[in-house]
């Protein structure tokens, strides 16, 4: 069992003639086996948090820490790791806007990623079966393996690819950044089932970033955090999502305005 600890995280981005602080002190602890939902209005910094965890070079951590702690007392400083080291350490980010990589086939990409994360190339025969099975679970046309990574895929197809990678790479902690947005009802169900299979597959932690509550009807969170002004402003159980459903984010953005 391990724990992802985020402490007082401040993150800035470069803007014309200076820097702009987006995350203003995020505190969050997720234990393996738990699912946390982060909900917040557009522009509140949810994707920034996701990118900072994954190590995107555009997002500069100015203070605070991200640590992977294990039960035996081991502590790994995530911020000192490169992007690929973080992935190999068991972190995964399903992106809000997955990137197209022309010239690289999906098959080649998936195998390269699995080889990197597992530390050895998966045996070809079992691998092909594994990929086929995972694709069929997500209702992805098998022909997609021959297409270039995300190239020309629709928004929904890209999101399925992210969950396919989640299924194949089996990270310790997965950050899902608005994986639900842009999906129709059927796709939302298929994708949610994919996430639930991943959750059921082991002691894994999920940070589910969403703007809407509808995905929480498929994926039940243990904790719900409201995100505004670049930090967590309130935390609670699943019932907090119901309140947000009823009354929106206004109460929290007002608090933030008063403080800030």
């Amino acid at each position: 069992m391990s724990t992802l600890e985020i402490k007082d995280l401040h993150v800035s981005i470069a803007v014309d003639g200076g820097t702009k602080e987006i995350l203003t002190g995020v505190d969050l602890t997720i234990r393996a086996g738990e699912t946390h939902a982060i909900m917040g209005p557009n522009g509140s910094g949810k994707s920034t948090l996701a990118y900072a965890i994954a190590g995107h070079p555009k997002y500069e951590v100015t203070s605070g820490s991200i640590t992977l702690a294990s039960d035996d007392g081991g502590r790994v400083d995530v911020l000192s790791m490169t992007v690929d080291e973080r992935a190999r350490a068991g972190l995964f980010l399903a992106m809000q806007y997955p990137v197209e990589v022309p010239g690289v086939s999906t098959a080649n990409f998936l195998r390269s990623a699995a080889t990197a994360v597992r530390g050895e190339a998966p045996k070809l025969r079992t691998w092909v079966k594994e990929v086929k099975g995972a694709m069929s679970d997500l209702d992805i046309d098998p022909a997609f393996v021959d297409r270039n990574v995300n190239e020309g895929f629709s928004g929904g197809e890209k999101k399925r690819q992210e969950v396919l990678q989640l299924a194949l790479l089996r990270p310790k902690f997965a950050v899902l950044d608005e994986t639900d947005s842009g999906l129709d009802v059927d796709a939302l169900r298929v994708v949610s089932e994919g996430v639930n299979r991943y959750r059921a597959g082991g002691e894994t932690g999920v940070l589910l970033i969403t703007h809407y509550t509808r995905i929480l009807q498929h994926i039940t969170p243990d904790r719900v955090h409201v995100f505004a002004g670049g930090k967590v402003v309130e935390s609670g159980g699943p019932e907090l999502a119901d309140e947000l459903e009823r009354s929106g984010y206004e109460r929290f953005t007002k608090v933030e305005a008063a403080v800030g």
Partner: protein, 390 residues
């Protein structure tokens, strides 16, 4: 980096006057001559010279005299005849006529040419052209020809040091099929200005792959000319320019007969400061060339900042009776977002870069049917990648 797409026919402006002040309106008016004196010394402003850094040509654009000839070696086997012939051999010139001063200078200067004739279905043949050595300027002439209905594969490898201007004639006889791979695997100092004159006979097939890897400056001007109906030319290219390297490919596919096809795909990768590729692709469909099918595409992959890819595809159609004609050009950057995405799936940075470059060139390399050659070129590309340190 620029990706340039213009509408006017390049290549052709003011070849004779050498001024470029009076651009010709069509590739069909392109000036050609075997005689170097028929061309003026280019100033560098002409359409067909404007991308070439003249200071790095080691005087090739001015000179009419050469120190030496390159070394050409080819093994005679069953179905392969190798001859060293004089300038007045009646077969010389069958492939085509020089269209710029450097090609004409090499043509005016060569004393003997190597002529390789392929008959029947010979085993694959390799022709090795070795540069004259550092500081030496050479002119060369090579002709590769098939007999009617032959089926042959030829690899022309360029390597070594020095400066070379040369003409390569490729005569694909009626009904024959020629697979031709031409590689530029020069040492870092080399300068090569080459002209390829390719003629495709009635119902003949050319499958060409041009590979540009080494050299300080490589400029290849290729003309494909059909000599009867039913000709089919596939022209693929692969280039990898690293820091300060200039790789230029100028192509004219001249459709003058009906029922011919041409399929052009050139891909370049660039990395490092001052890496420069130039791709000019002209396709001309003359009035007689009914039922032509043609497509040309240039793709460039810019791997680092400081590199520049120029790309000018051009299609000129003089008949309405064509099956299909298309052209395109795309220059993409291997950007930070792609790198981040691949790394976020655990793939280390250098492996991510290799994945992208291998994927990019795979389409071309897979068309090279000789496994040893393909593996050597794959290894050469890996070595280019290792150089980057980026």
């Amino acid at each position: 980096m620029t990706a340039e797409v213009t509408g006017l026919a390049p290549e052709l402006a003011g070849a004779k006057e050498g001024q470029g002040s009076k651009p010709l309106t069509s590739a069909s008016e392109r000036f050609t001559s075997y005689d170097v004196e028929a061309f003026e010394v280019p100033s560098g402003r002409e359409e067909n010279w404007r991308f070439t850094p003249q200071r790095r040509l080691r005087g090739l654009h001015q000179t009419t005299t050469f120190d030496a000839a390159p070394t050409v070696s080819v093994t005679e086997t069953a179905g392969v005849t190798v001859e060293i012939v004089a300038r007045d051999d009646s077969r010389i010139g069958e492939g085509g006529v020089p269209a710029d001063r450097v090609a004409a200078a090499a043509w005016s200067a060569f004393t003997t040419a190597t002529l390789v004739t392929l008959d029947g279905s010979p085993d694959p043949v390799t022709v090795r052209v070795t540069g004259p050595g550092e500081g030496v300027v050479a002119a060369g002439h090579l002709q590769i020809r098939t007999t009617p209905n032959a089926q042959a594969t030829v690899v022309v490898e360029h390597s070594g040091s020095g400066t070379l201007a040369d003409n390569l004639e490729v005569v694909v006889a009626d009904g024959s099929t020629l697979h031709l791979v031409v590689t530029e695997e020069w040492a870092d100092d080399a300068v090569h200005a080459g002209a390829h004159h390719i003629c495709v006979g009635r119902d003949a097939t050319l499958r060409g792959v041009a590979v540009q890897l080494g050299g300080d400056l490589v400029r290849i001007v290729s003309t494909v000319d059909y000599r009867g109906p039913g000709g089919d030319a596939e022209l693929l290219g692969l280039g990898y320019a690293d820091a300060k390297q200039h790789l230029e490919q100028r192509l004219l596919v001249d459709h003058g007969f009906p029922n011919c096809t041409s399929n052009v795909l050139y891909k370049n990768a660039l990395q490092g400061d001052g890496a420069h590729t130039v791709w000019i692709g002209d396709v001309l469909i003359r009035a007689a060339a009914e039922n032509t099918e043609t497509f040309e595409f240039n793709r460039n992959l810019v791997l680092t900042t400081g590199a520049r890819a120029d790309s000018v595809p051009n299609l000129e159609i003089e008949t309405g009776e064509i099956v299909s004609a298309g052209h395109a050009s795309a220059t993409g950057r291997f950007d930070d977002e792609q790198l981040f995405y691949l790394q976020s799936r655990g793939i280390p940075e250098d492996a991510a870069r290799r994945l992208v470059v291998r994927g990019f060139f795979g389409e071309i390399l897979s068309k090279i049917t000789l496994p040893e050659l393909r593996e050597r070129l794959e290894a050469a590309i890996e070595a280019e990648l290792a150089v980057t340190g980026v």
